[in-house]
């Protein structure tokens, strides 16, 4: 496919470019402020609330929504669902950018970027959950980079290197699944250390399981969501195979998401039962918990199922967007809303506008890089010089 169709004839000062440019400019200024003036200048973080939206949103949500990479590659390469092959590269790219931006966002929170390798050389021991998360994220980011590299190598015309990487596909996919299982659940396990700080409705020994299952849901929904946006904005870059999967991916992934959401709903109820926290449901926090579980778990499970039964692609796509929002709500609830729930209102955390600005900056950066890559590399189409692997 011709590569010039996307970029030729488009004005440089398009609305997207102007808005993205302003956000990146402001984000650049905020970045300088953060790293020269410290956390206090740009955040509302405190000793009571050391984790704000840079952890709650950029890291926890970012890692969950980047799960589409391992979910899709496992479906195609390990479970043999070859009819979803066209969805692999966009999902891997989304996952790679997601994890890369998670690591970038982490720098804003912890500062001193040169200490990034510290978990491997100066740490309290290999039983630390943070060490495990750091190790898995570092390894999985590397795996995603190698998994995505065939697209870049095809773009660069490096056939020999590409053929070597392709031989590693199955191995990399297995690594991806193992590493994702480990660190997605460990992010939930991090909160097990704070039973007195997290509201009893959200605190449960099942937190690692919940985080892993919601990551699978997030991955499935994010692939549908990302596919929807790609078909809307980059359809001119797609070949026949990608255009043909316009309906098959939402139907297949929507069906899987419906079933996993139903299973997740069950284990959420079991969690309340095992913890005997029923009485909290009658409180204000309980009402919000019910909004999360009924509105963002049970409802999308049902809507996905109806969409799949009726082959209503529009409904599935809206449900995917709703489910992605539900993942954001869930991670915010655990990290921010239900955390430190016993503190007086004056001590509770609300993000500074500059924290939100940095998060918007990082998301925008991801969108800009995604657009840069898909308009140049064979992500949404098969390179004519190569066979599909």
């Amino acid at each position: 496919m011709s590569e010039d169709t996307a970029t030729m004839g488009k004005p440089t000062l398009s609305p997207f470019n102007i808005v993205a440019g302003v956000i990146l400019l402001v984000g650049g200024i905020l970045t300088i402020l953060r790293f020269t003036q410290g956390l206090d200048a740009v955040t509302n973080l405190s000793d009571y609330n050391p984790w704000g939206i840079w952890i709650g949103f950029d890291l926890l949500v970012g890692v969950a929504l980047a799960a589409g990479g391992f979910v899709t590659s496992a479906a195609v390469y390990l479970f043999g669902m070859k009819h979803y092959h066209a969805a692999v590269r966009p999902a891997i790219l989304t996952g790679f950018l997601g994890y890369a931006l998670v690591v970038l966002a982490l720098h804003y929170d912890v500062g001193r970027p040169w200490r990034l390798p510290y978990p491997f050389i100066m740490q309290r021991g290999t039983t630390s959950l943070l060490f495990e998360v750091a190790a898995c994220v570092a390894l999985y980011l590397t795996v995603l980079f190698i998994e995505f590299s065939p697209a870049a190598l095809e773009w660069l015309g490096l056939k020999r290197a590409r053929s070597i990487v392709l031989k590693l596909t199955i191995l990399l996919t297995i690594f991806g699944v193992v590493l994702s299982t480990l660190h997605q659940s460990s992010l939930g396990a991090l909160f097990l250390i704070a039973p007195s700080k997290l509201h009893p409705l959200w605190y449960t020994p099942y937190l690692p399981v919940y985080f892993f299952v919601t990551a699978v849901i997030a991955g499935l929904s994010m692939v549908i969501f990302e596919s929807t946006l790609s078909h809307r904005f980059f359809s001119h870059k797609m070949d026949a195979a990608h255009l043909a999967e316009k309906d098959t991916v939402p139907l297949g992934f929507g069906k899987a998401a419906a079933f996993v959401l139903a299973g997740y709903f069950i284990i959420k109820v079991i969690g309340i039962s095992a913890g005997n926290t029923w009485h909290y449901l009658a409180t204000g926090y309980g009402a919000w918990y019910l909004v999360e579980v009924l509105g963002f778990v049970a409802l999308p499970a049902f809507l996905y199922a109806v969409g799949v039964r009726d082959k209503n692609i529009t409904l599935i796509r809206w449900t995917a967007a709703w489910t992605v929002l539900g993942i954001v709500v869930n991670r915010f609830n655990i990290c921010l809303v239900a955390f430190n729930w016993h503190l007086p209102a004056s001590e509770r955390y609300f993000p500074h506008w500059m924290e939100i600005g940095i998060s918007v900056f990082i998301v925008t950066l991801g969108i800009v890089i995604y657009r840069f890559i898909v308009t140049r590399m064979p992500v949404l189409y098969e390179h004519p010089d190569y066979d599909a692997h």
Partner: protein
């Protein structure tokens, strides 16, 4: 609600409810699967 004083009582109480819920859940998820896949052959 009955008073829970010991871990034994707590486990007995929560497991009683959880086991009943599990039976309901297994039946429910089976029904949901049938609802989800009912029109697969269409």
């Amino acid at each position: 609600m009955e008073t829970i004083n010991t871990l034994q009582e707590f486990m007995l109480h929560t497991k009683n409810i959880t086991y009943v819920l599990m039976v309901v859940a297994l039946l429910g998820i089976t029904g949901f699967w049938l609802f989800l896949t009912e029109r697969d052959d269409d």
